[in-house]
């Protein structure tokens, strides 16, 4: 099974990911010979062969072979902007659901308010949604969040939509072009969390349209027909794209 052998679902690599074809692989499948290439995420080297460890699309970029998984859990990285939900409140910290395997911890020292010991509940309770940033992640997956920073705050209004992690880039588009288009067309504020949660805020009509557009981007963002589909949807947009 060499590099040039086409498998089911072979596709052309998009611009900017030069060097190889996209190919659907399953765990254990040989992607190709190691031959001086570096092994990226979703693959391992075994007996001079690169083996896929996840179900996904192979990618070669800068001599590094990796697999873009089709499904994956959110694994937080330092600096990620996320939409988190308060899961537990203690006297001096909050445990946040970050849509990943582990809860994140927001200590009162990293909250945007001056919080007295025992007064954490007065600022945020269970179920409150916040825009936060991942401060640090250690090797045991302890996640510390921060709300100190520009724009980080409690989200008191709007709605949150879940999107699979691997569709986030698709929703964002090249240089945030797609999400900006959705914002303009629906006259809503849209914030995409790296953890697969999208916050949408606007009037009812705009929010409903934006949800529809997010669903369309999620389903068809990779297809050549996406542009036409989105343009058709924009005809029914509250602002009809003239914002």
């Amino acid at each position: 099974m060499g590099w040039s052998v086409a498998q089911n679902g072979e596709k052309e690599m998009s611009n900017g990911q030069n060097g190889a074809e996209l190919r659907l692989v399953t765990p254990g499948m040989a992607i190709g010979p190691l031959a001086g290439k570096r092994v990226g995420s979703g693959a391992i080297a075994q007996n001079d062969t690169i083996i896929a460890t996840r179900l996904g699309w192979t990618k070669e970029f800068n001599n590094t072979v990796s697999v873009d998984p089709i499904n994956s859990a959110y694994m937080p990285r330092s600096g990620d902007l996320i939409v988190a939900v308060v899961a537990e409140v203690r006297n001096n910290l909050w445990f946040m659901n970050i849509n990943g395997p582990f809860q994140g911890l927001l200590p009162m020292s990293l909250a945007p308010w001056k919080v007295e010991f025992g007064a954490a509940r007065q600022h945020m309770g269970i179920g409150d949604v916040v825009l936060a940033r991942v401060q640090e992640v250690d090797e045991c997956h302890n996640v510390v969040l921060t709300m100190k920073g520009v724009g980080l705050r409690r989200l008191n209004q709007g709605t949150v939509v879940n999107v699979p992690i691997n569709h986030i880039d698709r929703l964002r588009g090249e240089g945030n072009a797609t999400v900006q288009r959705l914002r303009d067309a629906s006259d809503t504020r849209i914030i995409i969390g790296e953890n697969g949660r999208v916050w949408i805020d606007g009037d009812a009509e705009g929010t409903a349209w934006a949800r529809k557009a997010v669903a369309l981007t999620e389903a068809s963002g990779h297809k050549t027909t996406f542009e036409a589909e989105l343009s058709a949807l924009e005809q029914n947009a509250p602002k009809k794209g003239d914002a």
Binding site: G42, I44, T53, G56, W57, N71, H222
Partner: protein
């Protein structure tokens, strides 16, 4: 097993009671992504066996005492539905399901890259909806497809398959009568790409030659099932990157 020597399991023409050759497998069909609420799922139909596997996680392992600081734990729950056999099965965990859950978890741990998720748990639920011998193998196959569907990193898929001995003849993939009245049963979990064995049990007696032949049959069947597994996973996402 082996206590009913007067039951005829091979026909005079050398075929088995259901018309299969001695090295022929029952028909297998696999579908991935059958349960929308699960992170990954699969349904495997193998002969008259029907198994559904669902994978949830990785998630934080609770209670904390089960956490491993350097790896994830795989929590498998194998269960046979009360209606899966002709005699109703009493619902709930029993000695057999506990044993199969344990050996399945150990087999899956050898292929899943558990070190990627310290302190976490990957929950695998295997429900046997219809049983006709070889359910542990069908459960392992379903779990492997569900794990791959959930995006859990694995170094290979794992295929569950069994051979056995009836009327002093080694046969592949025992059906219910052969399982009940045969002389031996050899279920294995095979990693098809590397040829490694992740799980092996043997019930009854096989000579070394019979054992080797049974393993040869198992490897041949594993390669066939593996193709069906890969096809099921690809079929789920065919039509473009999803």
């Amino acid at each position: 097993m082996g206590g009913y020597g007067d039951v005829q399991l091979l026909r005079d023409d050398g075929l088995r009671l259901d018309g299969r050759k001695i090295d022929e497998m029952r028909p297998v069909a696999i579908e991935a992504g059958v349960l929308p609420a699960a992170d990954g799922s699969a349904m495997v139909t193998h002969g008259l066996n029907v198994a559904v596997a669902a994978v949830y996680g990785p998630m934080e392992a609770h209670p904390r005492k089960i956490q491993r600081q350097d790896r994830a734990v795989i929590d498998v729950r194998y269960n046979m539905a009360p209606f899966s056999t002709s005699d109703r099965i009493r619902p709930g965990y029993n000695r057999r399901s506990r044993e199969i859950s344990k050996v399945t978890a150990e087999a899956l741990e050898s292929v899943v890259l558990v070190e990627r998720y310290p302190r976490s748990k990957i929950r695998v639920e295997i429900e046997i909806l219809a049983a006709e011998a070889g359910t542990r193998c069908v459960g392992i196959t379903a779990a492997a497809v569900a794990l791959a569907d959930a995006g859990i990193p694995m170094r290979d898929l794992i295929v569950g398959v069994a051979s056995g001995k009836v009327e002093d003849t080694v046969v592949l993939d025992l059906d219910k009568a052969e399982d009940n009245y045969g002389q031996a049963d050899l279920p294995v979990g095979i990693l098809p790409n590397t040829g490694e064995i992740a799980f092996l049990q043997m019930d009854g007696d096989l000579s070394p030659d019979e054992f080797n032949l049974a393993m040869e049959y198992n490897f041949k069947a594993a390669a066939e099932i593996h193709e069906i597994m890969v096809d099921a996973l690809k079929r789920r996402y065919e039509g473009g990157e999803n």
